[in-house]
Subunit: 314 residues, 2 copies
């Protein structure tokens, strides 16, 4: 367990529900992992990082945790595990971590959340990942992992889709490190397909959970709200299509069936809203809406959802 | 004041905020007015009907009030002053009031609310009216009139627009009775134009007041919500157009300016929602939506508003 799986040095920016879980697993597998933390740096330095997981509880200690990127060594892979709402600030925050060949891996929700990091690292240096993870931060340095954990990751090719990809060998190396850490990870060729497919769920269910103040089960059991969720999925599918991403109809059917079988679930957007935090409206709804509109398609219900969320954010 | 202005006998079905106010004025002017009341029949019979109005307070006593239509005489003009949510029941309720030449005057919000009464009285016997009234029922037999009071009334020509109109002489007589009672009343040739124009306000501001839990001023001062209100107005205008009703763009501008200048206002739909009562979703949103859709135009944001209201009603 103390034999490094790779010579790569990892930075985990954010030790919350997502960064704490994945970073904890990477550190536990023996990789050289450095955490940029916020309020709980001292706690993690002295007592380590505790993960209570459905796959088995564990504690990583000692943990290389820092309150500032200026204290950290340059890293080969910089994993962004904070919410996208602060990306314009985060990119400043992480510049001390950069070295010539550094690669960003942006584990955030939404569309083109990677672009801020491409602006820092240059094109060909950014990957993105869609995480399917159900975890919470329950205390300082303490993560509870409830379900799922799968990541679909791939090279980010820029807003116009024309940037060079991160080299295949680096992608493979990161992929292998994740697999060896016990993280179910898929290396995808078309990251935008994975992004849009996840949006097909996030737009209706994150959006309506706030706009209609309703967890998924309430939406699914009201005929009117259920149809609205489906309408939003179909509009997301059509928006993806004008952006060059084809998603088959059966994906919608599967997502509906999957959501029907879910336990009642409070989306991250609803948790943010209820706690008075900034919601990821732009990454999850605003950006997909604008990408569709600038290609001549106006998804009206997504637009209305966006207007309602902007109203509620205020 | 005891000299009848007309030989017509009036029934007022419902002595709430609207029926109490208009019926009170008609009775005060000396017309033969019979009220079908609900919970406060005894109170009104013994103490009369009290109206505190910005135009001057008054009490009408004695009042001809009844707890059942079976106790009432047949009437020439039957004014429907209850919410449209119960129209399928109201039409049964009022059949005892009918005589051969009875005319219904339906003072309700929404589109084709008159059709239930056309089914009872036959075509050519129904008028409708759009009321611009701000009043409340504040206690048994006690109405408070805060603002406005204008009515636009006209013949209802059926769902297909082909029913014969109530004879012009009867329309004129009713119009004169209202004017002489001090009610600012306009006799309109095109009732559907008035209906759609009022919907252009009611759909956004009744709808969003519930769907976004916001009085008019909150909607108007949020850039996102204000734009959504305008989008809903534009969709209502387009829906009217496919139904053969042309509403000029300047009406939207005037309505926006008028709403900007309004004092914060809780719509009747929001009051119903907050009190746990059935909302007039079908009359105000559902019916206009269906009329547009069956003519091939889908107003997407109105449809989404309808879906959200149906969800919230439950």
């Amino acid at each position: 367990m103390l034999t490094p799986n790779s010579k790569k040095r990892y930075a985990i920016v954010g030790a919350g529900a997502l960064g704490g879980y994945y970073g904890g697993l990477l550190a536990k597998s023996g990789l050289d992992v450095h955490f940029l933390t916020r309020s709980d740096t001292d706690h993690i330095q002295s007592r380590g990082l505790r993960v209570d997981s459905i796959h088995g509880d564990f504690v990583v200690s000692p943990v290389q945790a820092y309150s500032s990127a200026h204290l950290m060594p340059p890293c080969d892979v910089i994993i962004i595990a904070l919410k996208s709402t602060q990306n314009h600030l985060i990119r400043e925050l992480v510049t001390p971590l950069l070295k010539e060949e550094s690669v960003f891996l942006v584990l955030q929700n939404g569309l083109h959340v990677e672009s801020e990091f491409e602006a820092v690292a240059g094109s060909g240096q950014v990957m993105g990942g869609c995480c399917f993870l159900c975890s919470n931060k329950v205390g300082p340095g303490h993560i509870r992992h409830m379900d799922y954990g799968h990541i679909a990751m791939g090279a980010y090719l820029g807003e116009d889709g024309k940037s060079p990809a991160v080299s295949q060998s680096i992608q493979n190396e990161i992929h292998r490190d994740f697999l060896e850490a016990g993280i179910r990870t898929e290396l995808v060729e078309n990251l935008q397909y994975s992004r849009w497919k996840k949006l097909m769920w996030n737009i209706p269910f994150n959006g309506l959970s706030v706009a209609m103040n309703a967890p998924t089960d309430k939406v699914m059991t009201s005929p009117a709200a259920r149809q609205l969720a489906i309408d939003l999925m179909v509009e997301t599918q059509a928006s993806a299509k004008v952006c060059g991403i084809e998603i088959a109809d059966k994906e919608i059917e599967q997502m509906i069936a999957y959501t029907d079988s879910m336990v009642p679930y409070d989306s991250s957007m609803r948790l943010d809203f209820l706690a008075g935090r900034t919601m990821e409206i732009e990454a999850i709804v605003g950006r997909p809406l604008r990408e569709a509109k600038r290609r001549g398609f106006v998804p009206k219900k997504i637009e209305m959802l966006y207007q309602q969320l902007c109203f509620l954010q205020k």
